[in-house]
């Protein structure tokens, strides 16, 4: 879960306005979505990694991300290798059960995996460097209705809350000698989970009920124009960042149109993903 939780640090990335970071991710996503040019996508990926570095986002998270993408990537390469429909020339690498595995298909799968990685690695730039409250204020600045923003904010909070309650319960049951890690699967199912999940369910029900009272008691939904504590006005560094990111995005788009949206340098990309 640490992939999505804010980590408090003082870096230039943390200091950026959430709107700027949203803009940044927006541009990077557009480029990564629209272009399937391998060089362009790798450029987006490298850009993300540089921002990770500046924002001191722990690279251990990149490993998790890589792990996930690797699994999906291999699946894509295998599936595309076997089922990709050639539109022009193609190269058969080998055959299995009468089905050809095509190099072009495998490369297409690889492209999708890189695309996925480029898109996914942009998310922590916003989420891991921005506390929830400025994030919510930024969404409000985009004129989204507050009820929507609140649901979003609460959802962000829900994961750690459930985790917290669950940890407390697990601690309490460990104190009563309940050691689920030492049980085999059958025992876990029949005996292990019950003492953890029943209190969890009951606690969460009670907590959400209390939370409902607390939220309403603190004037949620009052018929006045809501104000925000967080200052989401843009500073010089925000404008500068936006200009740089925009120029970078525009440059990559130009590069794509110059080198080919899907073709790349190796010329193996089919126009399938060209908009």
């Amino acid at each position: 879960m640490s992939l999505l939780t804010f980590i408090k640090k003082d870096t230039p990335v943390h200091r950026l306005n959430p709107l700027t970071k949203m803009f940044m991710i927006g541009i990077l996503w557009i480029v990564a979505f629209v272009s399937a040019n391998m060089i362009v996508m790798l450029a987006v990926l490298v850009f993300n990694i540089i921002i990770w570095f500046i924002g001191k986002i722990p690279f251990s998270n990149l490993k998790i991300l890589l792990g996930v993408v690797a699994i999906v990537g291999i699946l894509m390469i295998v599936i595309q290798g076997f089922f990709w429909h050639p539109t022009g020339e193609y190269t058969t690498l080998f055959s299995l059960l009468g089905k050809d595995f095509l190099l072009e298909g495998a490369l297409f799968g690889l492209t999708l995996a890189v695309k996925l990685l480029a898109i996914a690695s942009a998310i922590p730039i916003l989420v891991m460097t921005t506390p929830v409250s400025p994030f919510m204020a930024a969404l409000a600045a985009l004129k989204l209705p507050f009820k929507f923003i609140f649901v979003f904010g609460t959802a962000m909070r829900l994961v750690p809350l459930v985790q917290e309650v669950f940890d407390e319960i697990r601690e309490a049951q460990r104190l009563r000698g309940h050691n689920i890690t030492r049980m085999n699967l059958w025992k876990k199912i029949t005996k292990g989970y019950l003492p953890l999940f029943i209190p969890l369910l009951l606690s969460l029900l009670r907590k959400t009920n209390d939370m409902d009272i607390a939220i309403e008691s603190r004037a949620f939904g009052a018929p006045v124009k809501r104000s925000y504590l967080e200052d989401v006005s843009l500073k010089g560094r925000d404008y500068l960042t936006m200009i740089v990111v925009f120029a970078f995005g525009a440059g990559l788009m130009w590069l794509s149109s110059y080198m080919g949206w899907g073709a790349g340098v190796t010329g193996w990309m089919a126009p399938a993903v060209v908009p």
Binding site: P131, E171, G177, S203, R206, E230, D231
Partner: protein, 582 residues
């Protein structure tokens, strides 16, 4: 709102309220009129209807919780049945009992800001208010902390701040100090007094802390079984000692001293303030000099426990929570002997819970060593140590899952690998020790909060540990519930168990423990016999603790030979009566 000019702050007339799917009303024919600017404290045992009363004040009842309501309920002139909770929120701030359930944002600052934002308070004004209120509740250094990382007491203060930021006309607090250290509790009452005076804010607090009710309230309301059974200025209410004893509401220690001594001193109206009682007794003691050595001889003969014989041994234990840079425990060394009954006191966030979690192995020291019965526990698993050392956590509901009390209690014993016969024996013993015999077959969640706490003790006792640690067993408990739990601990102690108890209840700790460990921020400030510890008033103040009221009274009379280490009302009365008898 022009209509709000002429009416009372709170006007409940013949109010009867029944929760959905309940037969018995939770409030019966309650009439309570509170004028603007009054400071009213509601006392009463658990289950008396205090929370229900509080939830009427901003329309959560009936708007959110439903139920059947009869009679008039008007707050700032607004009928609670006809107005949304957010309408009421413009006038009424409410702080609920369980602080955790009302904190839902990602950091302290945004938590406090939430209500102000909802009310559209301009940003500059909001910042001013947040600064002010965080200062008031001593949370200024924690603005960026996620609420989850605060101690129980800090969470409670945050919940209070989150409501006060609305600067409402009326502030309603349902047991706002149940997890606070003594001075922290007093501060809450005192801050509310200031707000009440300066901003003419109407204050309604429900609490079990009669001392503070007596000290700060304009008016005290006593609830029992949904009815108001007494009401009036605190001195009138707390003088009704027989009534209060009958319904298990604590009488302030000083008032009880006067009540016990009424015939000797010829008192007819009882005081509720320490200095008044002290003055009365000084007058009585004038010219006398109590020679009390004779009295204490018998005290002294009752063996003072040897401090620490190394059953639980901590050597230079330092602990740091992962991801933090401050030590939550710093070079803590202590030694507890077998069969001792030790109290741990200290301000909120001092590290008391962290300390016991280290002792029990839930947390592992960053450096230093912990020995239990001579054995280093650094490699031991919590699950395996449960047979030696048991910890009763603050929140009973984090562990109850079984369909019956019996089954719940058996769970730990079965996990310990006891034979069927042993399990049955342990369960019986644990249920008897906690006085839950009549509820054996009941579903745990149908028990009252006090009984659920006892059940959580039984669940630990059934594993037959030698050492039992109680973490804040008094939280949210009324006078009777606290004493019952402390009695359980005492009984177990008499049967040879070593007891370590963390609490903020100084009266209780004074009465039950012989030895106290006082914690300041992350370290032990002092460790010694209870009566000696309470002599060190300045040191205790450092960690937001003050001696029990009775001890303070005795200390004010030291000039006349009254021993300052008195810990119980009976002790002082005995001395005074003996003096009378001369």
């Amino acid at each position: 709102m022009p209509e709000t000019e002429t009416h009372n702050a709170i006007e409940l007339v013949n109010l009867t309220y029944t929760y959905p799917e309940q037969d018995q009303p939770a409030l019966k024919d309650v009439t309570l009129v509170i004028e603007k600017g009054e400071y009213v404290v509601v006392v009463g045992p658990n289950g008396a209807g205090k929370t229900t009363l509080c939830l009427h004040m901003n329309g959560v009842i009936p708007n959110v919780l439903g139920g059947r309501i009869k009679g008039k309920s008007e707050i700032m002139g607004l009928n609670t049945r006809r107005h949304h909770v957010y309408d009421m929120a413009l006038h009424v701030g409410i702080v609920l009992q369980d602080p955790e359930a009302q904190l839902f944002t990602s950091d302290v600052r945004s938590e406090v800001a939430f209500a102000a934002e909802n009310l559209g308070v301009p940003r500059e004004e909001m910042i001013k208010r947040i600064d002010w209120i965080l200062d008031v509740v001593r949370l200024k250094d924690f603005v960026d902390r996620p609420p989850a990382q605060l101690s129980g007491g800090q969470k409670q203060r945050l919940a209070i701040a989150s409501s006060l930021v609305m600067q409402p006309n009326i502030i309603v607090l349902d047991e706002p100090t149940s997890q606070l250290d003594p001075i922290g509790s007093q501060e809450v009452f005192s801050v509310l007094r200031d707000l009440n005076k300066e901003l003419d804010m109407t204050v309604l607090i429900s609490t079990h802390k009669s001392d503070y009710a007596a000290k700060f309230a304009d008016r005290v309301v006593v609830l029992n079984e949904g009815k108001i059974v007494a009401e009036g200025p605190p001195e009138n209410v707390f003088s009704q000692v027989d009534l209060l004893d009958k319904i298990n509401v604590q009488v302030p220690a000083i008032t009880r001293v006067e009540w016990e001594m009424k015939s000797e001193l010829g008192i007819t109206d009882f005081s509720i303030h320490l200095d008044e009682t002290s003055a009365k007794l000084k007058k009585f003691l004038k010219g006398k000099n109590i020679v009390w050595e004779t009295l204490t001889d018998q005290e002294k003969t009752s063996e003072t426990p040897a401090l620490g014989e190394g059953y639980v041994e901590l050597d230079q234990v330092t602990f740091q929570y992962p991801g933090t840079k401050v030590n939550a425990l710093q070079d803590v060394s202590l030694s507890v002997g077998k069969g001792e009954f030790v109290g741990i006191i200290g301000q909120n966030g001092a590290g008391k819970t962290t300390l016991v979690k280290n002792i029990i192995g839930l947390l592992k020291p960053t450096s230093g060593k912990i020995l239990i019965d001579g054995k280093d526990i650094s490699e031991e698993l919590v699950e395996e140590m449960a047979q030696t050392i048991g910890l009763v956590l603050q929140n009973p509901d984090a562990q109850l899952f079984a369909m019956s009390v019996e089954e719940e209690v058996a769970f730990g014993a079965i996990n310990m690998g006891f034979s069927e016969v042993e399990v049955a024996e342990q369960v019986e013993y644990a249920i008897a020790a906690t006085g839950l015999e009549e509820f054996k077959e009941n579903y745990p969640f149908n028990l009252s909060f006090g009984d659920r706490r006892k059940l959580s003790v039984a669940a630990v006792v059934s594993m037959n540990p030698d050492i039992l640690i109680f973490d804040e067993p008094t939280t949210g408990q009324d006078y009777k519930g606290r004493r019952e739990l402390a009695d359980i601990a005492r009984n177990l102690n008499e049967r040879g168990r070593t007891i370590i108890m963390i609490t903020h209840d100084m009266d209780l700790i004074a009465e039950y423990t012989r030895r106290l460990i006082v914690m300041g921020t992350s370290r032990i400030l002092v460790d010694g016999p209870t009566e000696e510890i309470f002599q060190q008033v300045d040191l205790l103040a450092e960690t937001f603790i003050e001696p029990p009221q009775i001890t303070q009274l005795a200390q004010s009379l030291e000039k006349y030979g009254v021993p300052g280490e008195i810990l119980a009302v009976e002790e002082l009365c005995q001395i005074l009566k003996k003096e009378m008898g001369k």
